[in-house]
Amino acid sequence: MNKKILTILSMLLVFGMLLVSCGSSAEPAAAEPTTAEEPAAAEEAPAAAAFASKDPTTYTMATIGEPDTLDPAIDYETAGSEISQNVYETLVFYKRDSATEFIPMLASDWTESEDGLTYTFTIRDGVTFHNGDPLTASDVAYSIQRVLLNGDTNSPSLLLSEPFLGIGIVDVSMLIDPEGGLIDSREAMQAVDPATLTSVCEQVKAAVVADEAAGTVTMTLAQPYGPFIASLAHTVASIVDQSWTAEQGAWDGSCDTWQNFYATTWENTPLAEITNGTGPFMLESWDHATQTLVLLRNDNYWRTEPLWDGAQTGNAKLERVVIQGVDEWGTRFSMLQAGDADSAVVPIANVSQVDPMVGERTDYELAAGAFGDMYATETPDQPLRLFYAAPGLLRGDILMTEQIEAAEDGSQFTGTGNLDGGKGIPSDFFLDEHIRKAFNYCMDWETMIQDFYQGDAVRTAYSLVLPGEIGYNVDDPMYAYDPDKCAEEFKASAQVDSAGNNVWDTGFHFTAVWNEGNTARQTALTILSDSLKKVNPKFEMEVLSMPWASMLHYYQARQLPMYMIGWQEDIHDPHNWYSPYLVGTYGNNFAFPDDVKAGFIDYVNRGVAATSAEARTEIYHELNQKIYDYAPIINGPVATNRHYEQRWVNGYYFNPLYGGFYYYEMSKN
């Protein structure tokens, strides 16, 4: 008898647990994803008033991780720049959702000289910092000078050093040692003779001059610089209060001491966890343990006139913003379900879990460059709203090294190092234009977009830049998946083995690398590997995952023949793409032949120095053709964003250059 009862009880227990499990996880999967819905089929959505927050004064964002630092001169990641853009302000700001139109913010207006070298900003009256200090022209000059003199190549200071100090000068120390021997070393900088140090400081101060009486700041550039205003809208150019900043232990503005503050990093800046800006919110607290940052409304905010039509004026509507790092997706999902998170970061792999909770949505229209009308989904009583498919600023590309170095630890990325027997590739394999084009034709990005991104990505033209930027031309040619052309290019290649047999006959073997955990990169390389094998069974491209740190090591040593990587732009300007891909970060590692590199550098330098949009467009269109012909990379799709929020939230709009949200324009029912 006892045994029977026991069996029944045990089964009930197991069954109960399974029921809980199914109830929790199967429900979202059972519902149809909302992506395929037609607006016409949708029902009327319930009125917004039907959705009311438990606490309409506090906005809670469930995100991943926390900022590196809150010092805007040093922080170079989106979590920190989200705080900076709500707490600090810049001279100019993006006009609502536009990434290329700018409005005066802490400047009331500005003028530009005809030669494009001098900009004069009139500083806005009546603005105060959170501590009550009035904003002055000297604060503005100090803020920019501090960024320039701080340097630090892991900070965004290079966005300002190029326009002010000269193209190619990525750090102030290069004014003393152009070879870069002093870069990021405070110790070495302190050992430089005082006269040289003073003269460098004075050069920087002469480039940014405050006129307190006139209430203006004049900035003189080293050369005309097309994206200068865009650079000033970046949070690195946030304006800080000079006296308060110096009181905290940062640079005091003196040319005698700047070397003691050179290369301050996020480990030792005194502004790492405190802020004093002019923005609509103030930092209330940052608790590292709970990864929680709280912003409190600035009740003395200066703005009395809207900065664009329909913009907010006066104090922010939200009283508090809680930005909480919740690393586990299941926890963030539960917070959305419970209504405790007003929005949350949703990984692409989990969208099918959240889509059934969407009651209304709007889709981004690429041609119009804006979201369409909001419409109800097939489940109009659900609590979430979805902003779907706005293109981001990050593109993943497959890169090739044209002159591969041998790995000192014997790692065999290039197999035997020659084509004999199809067991390797020579070090100059990708120096061959036909090989690079063959790989481009063999890459099936459409499969990647459908299978991996579930349609949440778009392929842009084969120019390096993104849609909407100067230089982007939708009519530019691009490589599409074409196995026949892929085969043709391989056959036309000059790559032969020691007996003179073409690569098509010998086959090849090499290893392409992706960093562990990044499944998008794994998928792309696997698709390419499979396509190559289909074109010719002798083509073997091994796909290998590597910890990020190891990959960085081999990448830096130019030992990887092929790898997949991404680039996220800092400013919405073509220079932010052409320069790294052709000259700097990646350009260096492609190991282009000198004449090719010189040709690219010429275009890049002329493109950034031209100040009129027409002149830049012309230069970049020519460059695009050259890039297409040379085919240095296999350029991938741009992932699009999904923003989910509770339907009681108002005022969200998408600007791809924001670090996160601009909470001033947002409110809750």
Binding site: N154, V170, F333, L552
Partner: protein
Amino acid sequence: MTTYIIRRILLVPLLLFGVTILIFGMLQFLQPAERAALYIRDIPKNPEALESVIRNYGLDQPLYVQYWNWLVGRKNLTTGEISGGILRGDFGYSRVGSEPVIDMIKNRFPATLELALWAFLPIIGVGVWLGVESATHHNKFIDQFARVFSIIGYSFPVFVFGLLALMLFYGKLQWFPPGRFSNWVLAEINTGTFTQYTKIMTLDALLNWRLDIFWDAIRHLILPVITLSYVSWASFLRVTRSSMLESLHQDYMVTAKAKGLPERDAVRRHALPNALIPVVTLAGFTVVMLLGGVVITETIFNFPGIGSAAAEAAAQLDVVTVLGFALFNGFILIFANLVSDILYAVVDPRVRLSSL
């Protein structure tokens, strides 16, 4: 006894020295550029960045130099200023935590301690009770039920049980939220209307005499405590049960019963104390596990203890932070072993005699 304790305490620096040497020794398997990846999270936008990180943090220096710098600090050759050095009280800066390592431990340990304090009693109390009941009702219904119940918990992966509990009791029912406290409590802390004396929320709530905050903290503790308990009961049940069964069949139990001692008293006064010796060992391990941080439970319930932080630091090769946590955990381990040894002496007179 005192000599014994002093001897154990004197071993502490030696053990910690060994632990740190071991961690530093493991570093030789990593290239300087691999360790620099901690400071550069994506392909560096500036080609000079990687080299400058390696140079500035001395990642290419011989290991003994790096160890010495970590131990006594690093001297700026131009200004003569010394920075860092754990012997100078500077445990370094945690890139993963965006704060000094010592602050990271100070900020996170109260959460771990609070979770351990609340989880310890249910884990041991219920586990031992189930074990005793199982043994005294050997092969009866309660024995079978307790074994099935706890073995299911033991076989359940923590992350599955935790996530299911979270989805049901928070996502659906909204009873027990994740984290340590609600946003309204955070607002009270930030505005100074609630003082954090110890950073142990339940204790602070009582010290402030704020029962609403006490209840809020309890609500946040319930799910992690249940998760930790449910997956740990089987161990205690099994150890207690087998140990009790053995004790129940000892001669002294027969003697006790023959003397006319009621069954209940015989179990309580004779069988249980003898059966508890292995339980004390297990309890020691459990305390170390709880105080060292429970990574998965902390991550699922967004409970900001030291376990998840240490795991994150290790994953990102944040050596300075890993060393800080290793030292801290070393202290905990040695302290817990010491307490466990003393408890042995309390429950088992033979241990007391032999160690003196």
